[in-house]
Symmetry: C2
Subunit: 212 residues, 2 copies
């Protein structure tokens, strides 16, 4: 089964997954699209379409779909079932926060190693994740079969560090640096720019207060 | 001076700010748009337009603009000059990571208090930020003149917690919860969904590997 979800469909999948996992852990066995829609304040038809697209089973009338099978189906679509391995480069303030964050495993991501050019950090561990010298980049990527590179370096080195990741086998960049990366189109990039997001918020607040 | 930047212009501002601050701290006094463009691998004309829009001064021929004045101008446009105060609700794994993150102050944001429904956390401090009982929400917001609410709660309570923030005086929501908030249009929202961003990355990697 190969299918590509739209951006909006994709965006809703983690929300479904969160809800379904919570219900499953509370012992709920079956769920209807109506109930999912109600719990999440979403449109019922939209939920029906989303779920039909990813679900490998049909619902049982008046009962709904088996929650655990539905969770598995969504995990497969999100590529979470085979455990994505990532390395992180840039153990500054944000990199450290991400290494300490324990929520990634809910989305199938495991950080297998961190890197920094600061030699004083090399050999230390944060949240049980070792910090390596950049010279070990290829070794760590290959030994762990890591495909994702988490980028938490300053903006002015973001492009060069990304290129180094790619040369050493990384296929997908999760970019937390405030920088627009220029990359070959076969490289996957997802941007997560806190500075931009906060700047947008601050600017809107500034405009609002100017008007008010 | 009141002007509204486009989303793309806004997105580039923190990148300019990062670069200019770094150059300024290295003793550089003047900079041209050409140099900014070169340092950031951006289009020169785009940089020229962006800078002209926010700068209160003209550049000096063959020298460029005064860096420190340009920094101030960008800070004003981003609403960073008057120090945005924020409260955070939801001291779970992500909330804790954000409280520990020291990079927000570069963007003028100060978290003045955190909240959680778990009474066992109340009274504790993370990175010198106190965790309060939710009953104190209005007090803390008013005493600190906080306008921004950082939302790091589970998706199923995101909407209700947001409404509680707004009832108590918050005007702008920085939403880290994997949930789409339905709000009155005078409330400012900026979404920062790590789960969605990671899901997008994972799904693209899944599609790529299916094809490969």
């Amino acid at each position: 089964m190969e299918f590509k979800l739209t951006t909006n469909q994709l965006k809703r999948m983690p929300t479904y997954l969160d809800l379904l996992r919570k219900l499953s852990s509370n012992g709920v066995k079956y769920i209807s699209c109506q109930t999912i829609a109600d719990c999440l304040s979403l449109n019922k038809e939209q939920v029906r379409k989303d779920i039909a697209l990813v679900s490998s089973i049909d619902g049982i009338p008046n009962k709904g779909r088996n929650i655990d099978l539905l969770i598995k189906d969504i995990e497969i679509v999100l590529g979470l079932d085979n455990g994505n391995k990532a390395i992180l480069i840039g153990v500054g303030s944000l990199g450290t926060a991400l290494l300490k964050y324990n929520g990634f495993k809910n989305y199938g991501l495991k950080i297998v190693g961190a890197f920094d050019k600061n030699k004083a950090l090399v050999g230390k561990k944060i949240n049980d994740i070792e910090i390596y010298d950049l010279e070990k980049l290829r070794n760590v990527i290959e030994a762990n079969n890591a495909h994702i590179g988490i980028l938490t370096v300053p903006s002015e080195v973001a492009q060069s560090v990304t290129e180094m990741m790619i040369e050493n086998g990384i296929e997908a960049i999760w970019n937390f640096a405030p920088a627009n990366l220029t990359l070959n189109e076969n490289i996957i990039v997802s941007n997560m720019d806190m500075a931009q997001s906060l700047a947008t918020l601050s600017h809107k607040l500034y405009i609002k207060n100017m008007k008010g």
